[in-house]
Amino acid sequence: MKEATKVKEVTKLTKAKNVKKKHGFISDIRKNKVSYLMLIPAALYTFVFGYCTIPYMLIAFKKFSFKKGLFASDWAGFENFKFFFRSQDAWHIIGNTVKLNLLFLFFTILSAVILAIMINEIKNKYFKKVAQSSYLLPYFLSWIIVNYILYGIIGSNYGLLNHALAAAGGETINFYNTPKYWTIILVAVKVWKEFGMNMVIYLAAITSFDEELYDAAAVDGASRFQMCMRITIPLLLPTVVMLGIMSAGKMFYGDFGMIYALVGDNGVLYRKTDVIDTYVFRTLRRIGNPSQAMAISLFQAIMGFLCVWGANYITKKKFKEGALF
């Protein structure tokens, strides 16, 4: 009798498996052919540039020879890491990189969320569109252009700010020779350039919220501010956390394009502006040793991975809806 029950159970399980198979990966591909086809270019790109390049990480541990190639070059152990970690500024530069990234992340998210909520409250649709587009515009400017705009504002001789200070009877400031202003300058410029794009993401999330929640709150006599605090922000939080976790992966990468365009080779400002990427670029541009460059990239990638994993782990414990995996 027991045997018969077992057989029945096995048969049931097999059937269930077969049913599951029908809804498996292959059947999903069959069902969504076009969608998967559209995924191919991105998947190929990721495969070629994301995975096929992984073996090249070996050069971080090799005395790389262009002639001998990847596998035949001699092993160098951790020698290629030394130039950075033995430099007097290594920890200061790592600190700068993380500090600036945290400030960028915090202020960009904060301003983008506030702006998205404010724009969502605008009733005039034409004004809303113009405002949205205007905030988005800086995102599409290159850092080189942004640099000239910044120079036009804070430059010593021709800068608007110094002209205004002089006109008001104040003393002009040589910003390009004074490091203490540069953390604020970098954060302000980064936020100005990127909060428009972040705002669009949050705005898209806000517009998908169930309107009935707001209607119910209105019936209960809630003000717009109360609705924002009790409905919009809590519902927006998973998106904010998710984007935050994704940004954590870049915590050890300095925004080279930005910082090099704005600061360049101005050694006076390095104390506040030098990040891992600018330091490595400056150090290796004459020598151009790919092994040393890869060693630092590998360090950044591992730290980035740990940051994403750590941020996700904490989120999963404290705020499950926001976790990525």
């Binding site: 052919k33 076009v34 086809l37 559209m38 191919i40 270019p41 190929l44 790109y45 070629v48 090249y56 050069i59 790389f64 020879s65 262009f66 002639k67 001998k68 190639g69 030394k82 130039f83 033995r86 430099s87 007097q88 640099n147 000239y148 910044l150 120079y151 036009g152 430059g155 010593s156 001789n157 040589n174 390009y176 020779n177 365009a261 704005l262 600061v263 360049g264 080779d265 101005n266 050694g267 006076v268 400002l269 390095y270 330091y279 400056r282 150090t283 290796l284 541009r285 004459r286 020598i287 151009g288 040793n289 790919p290 040393q292």
Partner: protein, 488 residues
Amino acid sequence: MKKSRITMLLVLCLIAVLMAGCGKENEGKNSGEKVHIVYVRPGTEVEHNAELVQAINDKLDADGMGIELEIMYIPSDTFQDKLNMMMTTEQEFDLVCVMEDQKPFTSFIANEGIIPITEYVKNSENLQKYIPDWMWESATVNGEIYTIPANWCETADQNCAITIRREKLKEFGLSDPQTMDDLFHMCQVFAENWEGDNKPVVIPMFREPFNYLFRTLDTYPFTVQKDLIYIDQEGNVKDWLETDEFKQCAQFFRKLYENGFVPEDVLATGWSSWNTMLTGDFVWVDQCQLWDTEEIWEERIPGVDLDTIYLNQNAVQFRPNSFRNDTAVAANSAHPAEAVKFMDWVYASQENYDLVVYGVEGLTWVNEGDHSFSKIDPSFEFNADWMIGNMEYERYQKGTYDKFIEIMGKEKPDAVNSVILNFVFDPTPVSNEYVNCQAEVEQSIYPLKLGLVSYEEGYEDALARMKAAGIDAVVAEYQRQVNEYLGK
């Protein structure tokens, strides 16, 4: 259904485009018996490129060289990065343009990116004839020639001059400055008499040592490498920061800075020496800047009369370095012999040189006789003289300043050579210290050098940082190699 087919077709097209980009670039380029040579150089593809390269290939055919040339352009701003990438991924190419101020050929040797070409060079009659022996010595490491120097200009006394506005000196009743005090006085007179909204400034090319100031010092001549290493003519090596010569130059620039003669934003990325020069509001600009014709400068700054002068006329003519640009053969080259053979062919006749450097006569340039020419499009530049040129065949644009030709194009046989003219430093034994010291130059040396920080206030800190970066180890290794080179 129809819509989904169209979408599928579009996606397939997208994939096809993506895959097309992954193709090997040099595939199928061998035509007949000819050997295909790829020359990699900085810059973007020039107008008429196909016609110009075809003209070169036709001449190569006519001369029975059995070589076919392809020029691969890499934008200048990403040149070194992309070149590294191409070498790392073992992409095949043959000749590569080397810019010594960006990445010297010795750095390529360290990673075996370029190969020895001694044997081929010795069989190249024209290369031997038009590139002097002392230049070949500078291209030799461990007994092997690694690169073909561009002997396009005389390096003696080339970058130890300054460019001034001659008409302003006349207007203000000034004679040519000879000392640092004269220079400071010149700044004061300019500032007092200048008409216009902007005060005239000094335009320093601070990425190179201030060689023009060195002429005014008692210990001249000496050589300064990358603002890091000082070498006197006895072969003594010192940390440049710790020398009295550095101190004198830094204090002079501090005086200029405090009096407002150095642009406050000189280190800012938005500040440009070139744009500042174009305003005409300058007292002097480092080095010889008479690059274009007098007519072009008249258009840029009406009434200008540019001139290049030397401080301390009694100082000896001095040749601090050998060559600044060269052409090497890549390690991945399948045809190193033919690559060198092509270079030898370039210097075989004026006709070959003209084709490779200036393009096709009548299409891109007009022959004005006596080693001069006019460009049909003033902005056009094919494979510039500075990349691949040679003084034997070089042409100057009609209307070029005589002074420019005198400085760049006339050999100075009496010039004193730097004791390390043909010495090539191998940083491998102190590579970590060397790269850190180079990085430190921008942070510690430039602000002092330009007077942005006073020498008295900034010296101790800068020295401590240079020591921490490993300057002592670099100096010791440099001294060891120089001693070995000089046979001490």
